[in-house]
Symmetry: C2
Subunit: 649 residues, 2 copies
């Protein structure tokens, strides 16, 4: 089904289609089952309640309740995208019927010229394209395009794809550098990613050109948002003035400078990482080295100076934004679920550009920590912001939404974003290049990969990862084949061993950019046994992260751990983990499905000196206690209480 | 001039009048000079600019600029109060002329029935007493009464006092439990303090009765604010709903329960401490033990669970309020200058109720740290919020106003509040009871005290406190007199010695509630030499203060110290002060007037493991460095940079 339109072919590889990789068990098998069976139907019901679905019937009139909102289209689109991925692997006539119904409304709603946006068609019909800066019109279009591609690939049905190609063609007429075109670009990026996908699915390079235009035009002078504001006679806003810390105007939407001149990850974190992912997509497709360079600069800014240990990004809830280097508050963290998802998109596209395991390390960090923390164990409740420390009394005295996952949000961008990521997770396991398969994630799974040689290459991963460090990869082939299996050795792993058909392989000579390259004539049934040592690691944040001074975090494999009050009692900040404490991994409590937990001896201060006092001058004395840490993503699934990732050492 | 109306006479003592104690030198001599010569004129100029003064002419009309605001009267009142205190000790015809002019406008503005409020007279003339909950009408009245008493005591002129007595008489007619009275009380407390002062100055017990009424009626059911809201047909507000952490409605203004039932310091911190000070005033004057008990409960809540080491209170900027026990964030601290001042009022009144040095310890803590931090060294710039840690890039990404003192604020309650406290500081040095003088503060000064025996008792303090721990008290008498000199031994002091006329005194038997009681027949010229050991102390916050886990603060004498970037470079959180580091006191830099600073060996982490990385697993290695700590109140007088009170140990 997928077009072979190759564009420049720059870069290392491509992800396999969603349909090619089936997650079969383990942690992710269960999470994907919950996503499919619980979360997707629950989200559909929410959209029924809120009016998101009815909006597509275009029957809303002034005075009616449930007025369509400027971002509603994107919510439904993400759900449809998730459904499309799900249908690729798990046929479900009921789900497909629901989708076809909505898509039918969409097709009927499309205007003769191709335009499609429920808010502007029914609420402000005269205002189309009047406020690109704030009103999410191109953002919604982008999400609809991604959904259309997913649905086309998942079901083979073209209607949605055709609708969105027509919309994209119309958008390409409206925007550009021609005389009668608007020289605009989205205030909330996303369409850049979508247009590259659409170009590939439809085999139409013009959509790629449009994506490139949006990226290249961004932040140019004279500034489109100034022009738009003047044209629309809009009042002054804070956006035209220098932002926090004198960042230039429009930095909150990464439009303060042309993208190739941007040195730091600035502004709204979801927008930023969507943009960067779009830049990497366009760079790969066009071979534009200046755009690759810009991606490197922004990648380094995000991941070496502005990223939580959980893979969360965007530390401030004021503007949902990046702030400044090494500013990573824990209790006040924002770290929106959507932003960590956007970072995975960026990381995955960098992996397609360059086979460097550092990108997969970040992708894995976000997936196992700051993203799956965003959905409850039972799949029905969601975190919008993913804090790294919690005091149950704190949040009502602050701007924090809640220290518990919520059933829904008035701005419910995160729940369907998790759903679409999980439903497409299989495609992130591998990248495939010229006679090379890179394994990027280790997950119990069956893959049937197209290495471009006209034959199917099957790889079955059998593993209890992330709970254990052994992964067996079974190669299935119709005939012996030469290719390279490039096994990612995760950055967290200090000691790995590989055996092929029980023969140990000396890794040192095979390592390159974090991958062990096994090149051979593979036979059907070949067994690759990868062992990753997975001791508990103590992790220390850069000394410039002022919030983590004197503190340590615990990580085992890709999982960041945390302390919860349920296991450790209150006053978690006072629990001190001495450097010499020996840490042990044991099965955890049943209500966390026995997930391995970390225990060890710790100390708490003797409270005697503070009897009736807030401040004391006695040198603190300590009493011994036991510490138990659980995987961070499982927090807030038991009784409410304190939580902390960073522990006083 | 002061009335001898004694009321119940409950409690230990009384403060001497402002005129009786002259601060002569040292730290406070200089601060009081700056207050008098720089701050008071600067504030007058601000009020000229803003329209605060012209408001009293009642010439404002709708459409005019500089519309009077509901709290403007209180600002001018605090300035007049400060001027009154200043004139008591430092005659200044120019200042007095300015005051008399304003007071003349006030007298002319007073309505025939006694009412006096610039906002309601000119802006909303029909709305008098329509919104006690929000509109600061009784709060403004209270400040005007305090000013009138100060001006009467400072100058002997009665006009202002008479105006305010007339206003108080009118208020007493409007409010009360009678049939045609409003059963209301102020949303912003303050008038309770003022009415007790007015009662004493005017010798009229009925003002005390009104203060008692306001306190007793507060928080009773049916709730006056519900009644008022219904009567005025006001829309619903968050105040009628349970507040943060399900605190009952109206907790933000301490009206959620009758005051004797309140168990915790809740809500807006300035209001709370003004209320508590008013309660202590009324308790002392009426002998109401149930009110004394309530004061104890609230004192303990504030000072053993909700107070910064600087004496700052009200940790959250959302609602300028108390939050919950042990919640004392540093970088996000609010700790409004006015709230620390209000705590001094509360502490001082508790000292008058009970001679217990713990109250003076808190008073001294606030004065030397969280209050004088509120004004710049040169007396022209002010902090509204007094944070305990600062990163110069942080504030623009948060709700923090600024990490630098500002010249003025649109809600400029703090600057004149500091001014009135400093101008009356002398009266806080002593409390005087039956043949007893308690020394509460050690400050270079000359006092002429009335011990009720018809003779003047002069006490001259000669000291370099707080820089050094030696205080000489010289007794001046016209004839030998029996009385007890009760010397406060500060809570921070572990070792004190006292000698009278060079004869050492054994302190152990003389100590009671933190005072060394020297009872004798004093002779003119007797010399009391008090020595307070003043080593650097390491202070540890209660282990439940999660923000200070693993951290230590430095204190010497009453002064809390902090690290500034100017002395220590950036990344202050990474500076680690090992428990064994020997700390030395040396003269500080010239731009801080050579104030003693604390130095010692410290450590910083070797950055090697984090090269190009945000997270590392190497056990941290340290490199030696030198630490320099300056008195907290002097921070932000040099180049902008980081600051922290709590240091990683």
């Amino acid at each position: 089904m997928r077009s072979n339109l190759c564009f420049s072919g720059l870069g290392a590889g491509e992800n396999p289609p969603v349909a090619a990789v089936r997650v079969t068990g383990g942690l992710w098998g269960e999470r994907l089952r919950v996503n499919r069976e619980i979360t997707l139907p629950a989200e559909y019901e929410q959209y029924q309640k809120t009016g998101h679905l009815d909006a597509w019937k275009l029957t809303w009139k002034p005075g009616d309740p449930k007025r369509p909102h400027i971002f509603w289209d994107s919510d439904v689109a993400k759900w449809l995208e998730a459904a499309g991925y799900s249908l690729a692997l798990h046929p479900d006539p009921e789900l497909e019927k629901r989708c076809d119904e909505v898509i039918g409304w969409m097709a009927a709603a499309q205007q003769p010229d191709g335009y499609l946006n429920t808010y502007y068609i029914v609420v402000e019909p005269d205002k189309r394209w009047s406020n690109l800066r704030d009103c999410h019109e191109l953002y919604c279009a982008g999400h609809l395009m991604e959904a259309a591609v997913a649905y086309f690939e998942g079901t083979g049905k073209r209607l949605f794809l055709d609708v969105m190609c027509k919309y994209a063609d119309y958008i390409a007429k409206v925007f550009g550098r021609g005389e009668n075109q608007l020289r605009g670009y989205p205030g909330h990026e996303e369409i850049e990613i979508a247009l590259v996908k659409l170009a590939r699915a439809a085999g139409e390079k013009r959509y790629l050109d449009l994506a490139k235009y949006f990226i290249d035009e961004r932040g140019q002078q004279p500034h489109y948002y100034d022009i738009e504001k003047a044209r629309e006679n809009r009042p002054d806003s804070w956006m035209e003035r220098p932002g926090p810390n004198n960042l230039p105007p429009y930095n909150s939407m990464q439009a303060h400078a042309p993208v190739r001149e941007q040195q730091n990850a600035d502004g709204h974190a979801v927008r930023a990482c969507y943009l960067y992912a779009g830049m990497a997509s366009v760079a790969k497709a066009t071979g534009d080295q200046s755009l690759v360079d810009a991606c490197h600069t922004l990648w380094d800014s995000v991941t070496t100076k502005r990223m939580y240990i959980t893979g969360g990004v965007g530390s401030s809830r004021f503007g949902e934004r990046f702030t400044f280097d090494y500013d990573l508050p824990n209790e006040e963290a924002y770290a929106e679920t959507c932003a960590a998802i956007a970072l995975v998109f960026f990381a995955n596209r960098m992996l397609c550009l360059e086979a460097d395991a550092k990108y997969a390390d970040v992708m894995e960090r976000a997936l196992y920590n700051g993203i799956i923390s965003g959905v409850s164990h039972d799949g029905t409740h969601f975190f919008y912001d993913n804090i790294l420390a919690s005091h149950p009394l704190y949040h009502t005295f602050s701007h924090q939404k809640s220290p518990r996952r919520q059933e829904w949000y008035s701005c419910a961008c995160c729940p369907p974003n998790i759903a679409r990521l999980l439903a497409s997770l299989g495609s992130y396991l591998y990248t495939i290049g010229d006679k090379t398969v890179w394994t990027q994630l280790y997950i119990d799974s069956q893959a049937e990969l197209d290495l471009g040689n006209g034959k199917k290459t099957r790889i079955t991963q059998t593993t209890k990862y992330p709970w254990e460090g052994d992964i067996t990869l079974t190669i299935g082939l119709d005939a012996p084949t030469d290719f390279t299996l490039a096994l990612r050795i995760p950055g967290w792993c200090r000691q790995a061993t590989v055996a092929v058909n029980d023969q140990a392989v000396a890794l040192d000579d095979l390592m390159n950019n974090g991958y062990a390259h096994l090149s051979r004539n593979w036979q059907d049934g070949d067994l690759v046994a990868l062992h990753l040592d997975m001791p508990v690691e103590r992790v220390y944040a850069h000394p410039s992260v002022r919030q983590n001074a004197g503190k340590v975090a615990l990580q085992r494999g890709p999982l960041v751990y945390c302390l919860e009050e349920a296991d450790n009692g209150p006053n978690l900040a006072d629990l001190r983990l001495p450097p010499a404490s020996e840490l042990t991994v044991i099965p955890g409590p049943a209500e966390l499905d026995g997930a391995p937990v970390i225990t060890g001896p710790a100390l708490r201060r003797d409270l005697t000196p503070w009897a009736g006092k807030l401040y004391a001058t006695d040198r603190p004395a300590y009493v011994a206690c036991q510490m138990t840490a659980i995987p961070y993503f499982l927090w807030a699934n038991r009784a409410p209480g304190e939580m902390t990732v960073w522990i006083t050492e």
